[in-house]
């Protein structure tokens, strides 16, 4: 179904300026589509219809007055519910924060306001971003718009599903081990995890601080470039923010990939990779060949150690980060505690769901006396080896490509009882997160009626090459124009 949200950003911009339609009409279109699809998809936790309509009226008044329009002017947007929004409930999909109203905006929230997009609501996710299916949300499971019996992926499942369902123009997600790219792959949309440090984490509720990055989820690569342009940049409020100059991402989309050297890790196309996924990825590589790029097989030899490394490091960081949820300053507080320690214990036990408890337990164990060297330190050392794998390949290649996920979206309930199998869905995205480099997932076809994502991985801070290659692919294939029947 053709939607107003399929229009190119520059066209929306021009039509708003020429008063062919108004921001209020765009916002109406978003809520109308949500009204028609949300019972099925369940992408949102909180909708802010009155706030969005008031903002739309303000933006329409601005058009009437004339003057500059922001980069994302008037575009209906959804924000993952672990990114704080002043005065708009932010739950991290946890009962612990069911009543939490942030008193400030995340830096990316501020930047979206400067770019003048309109926030439609807050998107569902796995609780505290822990999970890959959205089944760990303490509110409801979001469903994949391509097949409602399947998961949308996670943890940014709401962010991917809402874009795939045409409910908003774009969304923001966060990625720690694949949480933007994997749901983008499952839902047939574009998801970009920027280089660690490119986008401020200030106001992103911390899961694993050395890995967390915010990024855009969009219908096409051009939109991703625009949203990245709006949110990237140094922020003194984030001490791991990188002080680098920000290029013009949109003008880098030249369509030209001639001479690009692509490395394809054999580990990403080996055992455990679904045949339909492999076929779609190989077909994508053929497209690059036809466009004048070259590819050859390479090795990232420590890939098989990445998942274990990640779960030790991310859970350790999480166990420390989530210590702040103690029931004292915000969030739920258990009734009738015996004493202060009991208040912490009861509040946390009542507020957190099973996956969050499991990771806090794993992380606390890995950091505890007697096990620190064997687990946490060891994992940090293996992280160095994994990062070196990437450094070595990038000495000879401009990009690395492979599947985003080993399979297409699995059925709801299929893996919920088996955390380890669930963790292995992230085998192709986790190493990239550990290395801190940027990667995008772009639709590269369907396997058994469900979308497959091609993952394009670049050198640190070389988002322009990643976006350029992704854009050239989509312009020459059109997979990104496929829409689910809803």
């Amino acid at each position: 179904m053709a939607s107003i949200f399929d229009m190119r950003l520059q066209d929306v911009h021009n039509k708003l300026r020429d008063k062919e339609f108004s921001v209020s009409e765009l916002v109406d279109a978003a809520y109308k589509r949500i009204g028609g699809t949300e019972t099925d998809v369940k992408a949102f936790i909180t909708l802010d219809e009155s706030g969005a309509r008031a903002e739309a009226a303000r933006l329409d008044a601005q058009i009437a007055e004339g003057g500059e329009l922001g980069l994302l002017f008037g575009l209906p947007a959804g924000i993952k519910d672990n990114i704080v929004t002043e005065g708009l409930r932010t739950t991290c999909a946890s009962q612990f924060l069911d009543n939490f109203n942030p008193i400030y905006d995340a830096t990316v929230t501020k930047k979206l306001k400067q770019a003048q997009s309109v926030t439609i609501g807050k998107l569902n996710m796995d609780e505290f971003a822990m999970g890959g299916s959205n089944e760990n949300s303490s509110y409801h499971a979001t469903r994949n718009p391509w097949n409602l019996d399947h998961v949308p992926g996670g943890s940014s499942g709401g962010s991917a599903a809402t874009v795939a369902a045409g409910q908003v123009y774009f969304s923001l997600g966060s990625d720690t081990g694949g949480s933007i790219r994997q749901p983008a792959s499952y839902c047939g949309v574009v998801g970009l995890k920027p280089t660690y440090g490119l986008v401020s984490r200030f106001g992103l509720v911390a899961f694993a601080s050395s890995l967390d990055q915010i990024g855009p989820i969009t219908k096409n690569v051009e939109d991703a470039a625009y949203v990245l342009q709006a949110i990237a940049g140094y922020d003194e409020l984030d001490s791991t923010s990188a002080n680098v100059s920000i290029p013009d991402y949109v003008s880098a989309l030249s369509g030209d990939v001639r001479g690009l050297r692509i490395g394809v890790p054999k580990e990403y196309l080996g055992e455990g990779i679904d045949s339909g996924v492999k076929e779609a990825v190989l077909a994508a590589l053929k497209v690059y060949e036809d466009l004048g790029a070259t590819w050859e097989e390479v090795s990232l030899p420590h890939t098989e150690y990445a998942v274990a490394t990640y779960y030790l490091l991310a859970s350790s960081e999480a166990s420390s980060n989530l210590a702040r949820f103690d029931g004292v300053r915000y969030g739920v507080r258990a009734e009738n505690p015996d004493n202060l320690i009991d208040l912490y214990r009861k509040s946390r036990s009542q507020g957190f769901g099973p996956e969050v408890k499991r990771r806090i337990m794993l992380g606390t164990y890995a950091l505890s006396s007697g096990y620190y060297d064997a687990y946490y330190l060891k994992a940090q050392q293996v992280r160095t080896l994994i990062k070196r794998d990437f450094d070595q390949v990038f000495e000879r290649f401009d990009l690395i490509m492979g599947p985003t996920a080993p399979t297409t979206a699995f059925r709801i309930g299929e893996q919920i009882g088996d955390p380890l199998t669930m963790y292995l869905n992230d085998i192709c995205t986790i190493p990239v997160s550990l290395a801190g480099v940027p990667a995008i997932s772009v639709p590269c076809g369907l396997a058994d009626g469900l979308p497959v994502g091609l993952q394009i991985i670049g050198k640190a801070f070389d988002e322009t090459t990643v976006l350029r290659a992704a854009h050239a692919f989509e312009q020459n294939t059109g997979h990104h124009t496929l829409r689910p029947q809803l």
Binding site: Y311, K357, L420
Partner: protein, 95 residues
């Protein structure tokens, strides 16, 4: 390596979590499986390999020590589950 119910209870205490008997049993089984999987890392010789804490070459980010606007008391108390006279109220810490 396999862990016991007692290990899980000990870690729960450190993590300020109160687990039901059922949760303890489930976590014992699941954490054992995950840690067994993690033993894979032992196959690698990491002697002399520097640990990576994070990927950026930045350390000790400092700013000028100057007074800036900060969160006011009323704002800070907005989400307090229990408060008294602008302070967070908790059970008595001292007898």
């Amino acid at each position: 390596m396999s862990i016991t119910n007692q290990d899980v209870e000990h870690v729960a205490k450190l993590a300020r979590l109160e687990l039901t008997a059922e949760e303890t049993a489930t976590f014992t089984e699941q954490l054992s499986a995950i840690l067994k999987y993690a033993e894979k890392l032992g196959e690698l010789d990491t002697t002399g390999v520097e640990p990576t804490t994070h990927v950026l070459p930045i350390t000790n980010v400092m700013r000028e020590d100057e007074v800036r606007e900060s969160t006011g008391n009323e704002q800070a108390m907005k989400n307090a589950p229990d408060e008294e006279e602008g302070q967070f109220r908790v059970p008595a810490v001292l007898e």
